[in-house]
Symmetry: C2
Subunit: 351 residues, 2 copies
């Protein structure tokens, strides 16, 4: 029997999730895990993926009829994806020592059905397997399909990417500029330093949305009549998206990927999109998507990434921020997503 | 030389346009019109089309870079479409007595280039030519293309139409139910009486959005998990659209036709869409459109309408509200659009 520390969901969240105080969102416990049964595997978490979407799974006001992933129940371990090492296997598909991707949750160890584990073939150039959590995993795929399948981005397009210094955003910028060869690619991020980094990845320009001149900057960067954006890859929602509705060219396409600026709000505190009428007069398309819908096409995207890496068109080692810490810091590290603490994919190394 | 009364735009509008008071939006004047030159025609206005879009053309805060029709200048006659009779013609295409559709503006008489006039062939069954301003004109075409080309509505769809008792809405309801054969068609309108009328046109149900139970009614009418709407034909925007985002089925399509609930607001007073995140998690598509973009296909739609009229699938005589009044009441009648004064197409008969 293995003892494992786990972070449980203690109380569903309304605002910013908490770790301390009276009734914190998360609670650290120690549990005895069951022995793995036939076709099950015991894994030890090594790296944890930090994802804004996890906030949605613990929302107090989320309507269960409208969630694409089942919500986390109070008293259950927090859900999360991680890179893990097989410790004991009752399956012929995996053996001790294998590295796998799995929904381990916030748990040092986990017992899982073998069919829920994904293998992690060695990467060319000796690149770290943590990339399977980010650039070469779901966030990279999100950027790829959000630009290609969702809004059919081509080299003729002027593309704007919000959350450009994040895991998904930094891939969207590079895919748009370096793989699809888009005419102009403009990023938006939360500091001048992040913006410089986004430009170093290939963006023609990156705007700091926290600057007091942001509203003018965005008008200057996307001037009427021919400088408007054709594609907006939206990671953030809220007031930035509202401004962007006003900067889209006729027939512009918005790839609605995320709305992180609103994830910790609720109900009336949510920022309301006021420029809705622009959708009509400029004949815009706003298309929401979930990367999981493109699972059939993951191999095609991975092949594009492989080739782009070979051709030096993708920088991914720079796009990973690995935070080393104790298991007790797992929620604290995750919360950095909402204060802009990360540049590139935020990964927690479990020590 | 002909004398004509005209309603001029006196002052661009911020809130609800005004006719009286210190600095009214509109002002009645009398002018001498020039003689028609070669290829020009003098017409006399007989019926006026009343359109919510006219509000956009006189907005103080409208950005000229983002208008699809040039704004009306202060001191110029208010722009409008009407049915008119040719009084004098210097063109071989039209002769005295012909009835035409033209952008006459709010003007008793107008001198216009012949190439800007549209002929009005007689309608089957002796139907009135005012239908060229509504059901068989732009609002009918808007409903048709908004459902077909924009969001590809099929018989499998549950369709919701807001502003269902208006000119566009009453056609959208009938096209969805009686021509496209949609599974379920639900209207929304501003009174119980209007709702009954919308149901008499073919809607399976019509909800009064002014009822205090509207929020519950809409949940009941579109229940989870299988009762959600696949298509939302949106004439109104604002809080109704916000609620609808919450009632769309996975992969639902929103045909963004209008946002009348916000036309008399400006800037901060505009209702903000708070349920934007639903676009992402439910993979919705919001597609704005302008009917003028489908001009090439008008003949195809007119043919569909002709056949549907023959087959008794379209009620249009009931869908026309002709207000008889003096020319001095033109703005007052137009303003009824914003207080729900009309059922069906609002037409002003100039006496
Ligand atoms: N549709 C899908 O299938 C799918 C899949 C994966 C991710 N997503 C979405 O994509 C977005 C990015 O996710 P990610 O995993 O790549 O995370 P991420 O971008 O690496 O991390 C979050 C970043 O968002 C920015 N941010 C935080 N609060 C903000 C606010 N109030 N306004 C603007 N920016 C804010 C911060 O950067 P700054 O310093 O720039 O503020 C932060 O670093 C999220 O909305 C997520 O839900 C969607
Ligand atoms: N995209 C295009 O190409 C195109 C073309 C034509 C029209 N349109 C748009 O389509 C919509 C309908 O136009 P229409 O010509 O058919 O006019 P209409 O619907 O006949 O007249 C306006 C109706 O809107 C309703 N309304 C007024 N204020 C409202 C509010 N605050 N909230 C909800 N409903 C309100 C009223 O009915 P109730 O009693 O039900 O409130 C009123 O009778 C407008 O938004 C217009 O701009 C778009």
């Amino acid at each position: 029997m293995v003892k494992s520390r786990q972070w449980l969901l203690n109380a569903k969240a309304t605002g910013l999730p908490t770790i301390e105080g009276d009734n914190p969102t998360f609670k650290l416990v120690e549990t005895d895990l069951p022995e793995p049964k036939d076709d099950e595997v015991l894994v030890k978490l090594t790296y944890l993926s930090n994802d804004p979407a996890q906030r949605g799974w613990i929302s107090k006001d989320a309507d269960p009829d409208r969630l694409y992933v089942p919500p986390v129940k109070e008293g259950s371990p927090m859900n999360a994806r991680g890179l893990a090492e097989v410790v004991e296997s009752k399956s012929s598909s995996f053996k001790k020592g294998d590295t796998v991707i799995a929904s381990t949750g916030w748990s040092e160890y986990a017992v899982l059905p073998a069919k829920q584990l994904q293998p992690t073939p060695d990467l060319p150039g000796g690149k770290g397997k943590t990339h399977y959590l980010g650039a070469l995993g779901l966030t990279g795929l999100t950027a790829y399909f959000g630009l290609t399948e969702v809004v059919g981005t081509t080299s003729d397009d002027t593309v704007v990417v919000s959350g450009a210094a994040g895991a998904t955003g930094m891939m969207a910028v590079q895919i748009a500029k370096n793989i699809l060869g888009c005419k102009r690619v403009i990023g938006m991020a939360g500091s001048d330093e992040k913006c410089k980094w986004v430009e170093s990845l290939g963006a023609d320009l990156c705007l700091n949305y926290k600057s007091s001149s942001f509203e003018e900057d965005i008008k200057k960067a996307l001037p009427a009549p021919d400088g408007f954006a054709n594609v907006y890859f939206d990671n953030v929602g809220g007031s930035i998206t509202d401004l962007m509705l006003n900067r889209m060219a006729k027939y512009g396409r918005i790839s609605c990927c995320g709305a992180i600026s609103n994830y910790n709000n609720s109900g009336d505190a949510t920022y309301g999109i006021k420029n809705w009428f622009e959708i009509i007069i400029m004949r815009l398309q706003c298309k929401g998507f979930i990367v999981l819908d493109y699972m059939d096409k993951y191999p095609e995207a991975r092949e594009v990434f492989r080739k782009a890496l070979e051709d030096g068109k993708l920088k991914i080692d720079e796009g990973e921020q690995i935070v080393k810490g104790g298991f007790e810091d797992v929620p604290k590290t995750w919360l950095q997503l909402f204060s802009g603490g990360n540049t590139g994919k935020l990964v927690t190394a479990i020590q």
